[in-house]
Amino acid sequence: MLVKEKGLMEFTPQEILSGLLEKRTDVFRYLYKAYGPMIAGYIRKNSGTEEDVTEMIQVVILELWIAVRDGRYEEEGKLGQYIYQLTSNTWRDELRKRRNRPQQSLSDRDLQLEDETEENLTSAIVKDRYLNAVHEAMGQLGEVCRDIIQMYHLQKIRLQEIAERLEYDYDNLRKRIFDCRKKLKQLTENILAKNSEGV
């Protein structure tokens, strides 16, 4: 079954899920065009401002992406219903929080998601020297190693699939992952040592 929307590129539900995992802009654009009006309509109807609409579209799409990434969303041909539910739940929670803290708007909170906000993660990284060093070491790692680690650690892509994508022999890829991780760890330790000297 294809998910159709007049004037938009067509994707199968499976393509949408894999496109989200691969962070494909065309898939995000499709979701934005196909479901953005529904989210916007819901927020406007329920006393949201234009600023709320902007923020809530981002929150809902991010929530959907996290649900797909963490395997919490299972495709049953009801993506529209899922997004609608996500919108109504998130907006209801937001309104409830505002009643408790009436002076704080959504933009003040800057897109806080339930348990994995960028703000929380960023502040954790800033506070934690080790995390900070890993972050810095990732920046120093070569692009290929960075991609491999990202795919292997986070995206739950099977090793066989990564090997096919990167045109590596399966055993070589395993060794490469091992080497990249080792290099990253070494870089992290160097940064930590250097920072300790500076203290």
Partner: protein, 251 residues
Amino acid sequence: MEQMEWQEKLRALSAGELTPDEAAKVLREAAESETKQAELQFSQKLTTVLKERDLFEVKGIVAGLIMEEGLPTAEPSSWLGKLGLNWILGLSLFLLLGTGVFFIGKRMAWWAIDPQALAQQYLQPMENVIYLEDNEAPAIEDLRQGMAAYDQQNYRKAAQYLKSYYAQVQDGNAGLFLAISHLMEGETDQATPILLNGLQRPGPIQEASRWYLALAYLQRADTQAAINTLEAIPASSIYGPEAQELLESLK
């Protein structure tokens, strides 16, 4: 070989792929060896950092889409509503044509606007405000050379060095100057993703990124995305007056 298998177990644990029993077994195994414990700690930290980088990237994509596409307008609530809207649109179009769209357009100077020329007119390099003394970041030499080239208005060379520095340190300030160097060279495609990332950073970087992003869209002749971006610049911002002026030229 054994180390690889241990690594795979740690990855599965961090990714939440193990059953509670399997996870407990891995944790017990880690507790028995200092090396394994250290590997486990590294794996958990790495997962947090990767998640943060991932989330940051997705936020950039979605924010960029909203900028490019604009906010969705209200949908007609029913089939009859849609039909009615189509009639109204058709009728409006007919009336517009009938009353001389050419003269209206001419008066509003629709086709006198050249977005790329406007981008050229408004694009000025930002003053170098990067403080290099006491900065011991890795690859600092790249930053030093990049900013020296930037000050000499050699933007190609500046982009080359700043790109290398930014790839290693992901310093938001350096990213901004890198994006501006690309814009000065007319390399809009390279500048845009960096500026979209800049929108996620608080304070002056975000403010400047928004202004230069609007200019990047103009360079790409994407007038609607430029308008949406300019509208998001508050009047109180240091770019506020210029943004208002540019908006008026575009509307």
